[in-house]
Symmetry: C2
Subunit: 188 residues, 2 copies
Amino acid sequence: MGRWEPDAESRFRAAALELFGEIGYEQTTVAAIAERAGLTSRTFFRYFTDKREVLFNGSERLQQIMVNALTQAPSDASVAEAIEAALISAGSFFEEALRPFARLRSSVILANTELRERELIKMATLASALAQALRARGADESDASLAAEAGIVVFRIAFLQWVSESEQGDYAQIVKDSLARLRVLTAR
Amino acid sequence: MGRWEPDAESRFRAAALELFGEIGYEQTTVAAIAERAGLTSRTFFRYFTDKREVLFNGSERLQQIMVNALTQAPSDASVAEAIEAALISAGSFFEEALRPFARLRSSVILANTELRERELIKMATLASALAQALRARGADESDASLAAEAGIVVFRIAFLQWVSESEQGDYAQIVKDSLARLRVLTAR
DNA sequence: CCAGTGATGTCATTGTGTGACATCAGTATA
DNA sequence: TATACTGATGTCACACAATGACATCACTGG
């Protein structure tokens, strides 16, 4: 057995999500998270740059999945088709079993402005990565930005629907519907 | 003459923008801003909830202008047309004389992640307001969100182009071009 | 002339975030 | 086996952001 309990990082994540749900994000101090995880504040900040970041470090993996999907789309696919493929590939993140977790996390984020800010910049980073991948496929500079950002808009709205209590549909279907709606709306 | 120098708020804004430009956002302390403005940190936080907020409190006015434009668009205008009117109405913010200021402010924001976060949430708030106004015009619930968010994407990209050194065109023309591009991209 | 108002200042406190240094089990190396 | 090394954690000290409580005092209206 090692000198310390394993999985410090996931213990931090679990403790944080619990406390945020129990007493709210602002009321939760880093010291409290660390105590519940059996560690110290100082150690918390070695794993996460930020108090907020403890809720967001799955995002690199999501980004990688989506960029891969986009890159591997058929080379004759249109920009819109490539983006659609990327959005749908994110579905592996959104399996039914993870819905309760996603719901809790999502409600914590929506309840706090600081956390929404962080979420938005993660989405912006994702959009940049997708735009970059589109350019690598030969898309025009500003077309790439526009398409990627618009794609992320659809992604966010679809995700919110998927995670909402009332919604029953599966993620891929919601994405396709949203894309279709956007098409209608932008058409003259 | 009043007991204090007038325009405390704009003195804070000016001092902050100067210092951010001179030594960077992170290196600038609130105490330093206050000192340059001839006031106290405590007073700074009476005007601005945040250190960041000192760069962002024009946004309510922008929002009001755009929502007004959207609301006053002809009642038979399509969702897309109403959004276009709102985007173009923002042009009163972006007159040629203000470009140097906008450029400095923009470069300060782009250089710092915290500030980019704040900018993004201001844009998100703006998008919500536009969506709300669209619903008031009778637009479908999710159509309103999609159209407003997509509109803000165009707005952000157009603004970035307008503010960039190389670009020469005027704001309204850039918006129209970007909208046209988005239309082409989303079409099947 | 006086009470009240409001913008500012002073002081104290909590929490975030970070640098510098200490500890010490496990591992590699002589 | 002894010794040095590594790396995850802890301890301590500190700067800065943010906020509550209370003090100050020019100006205003009666």
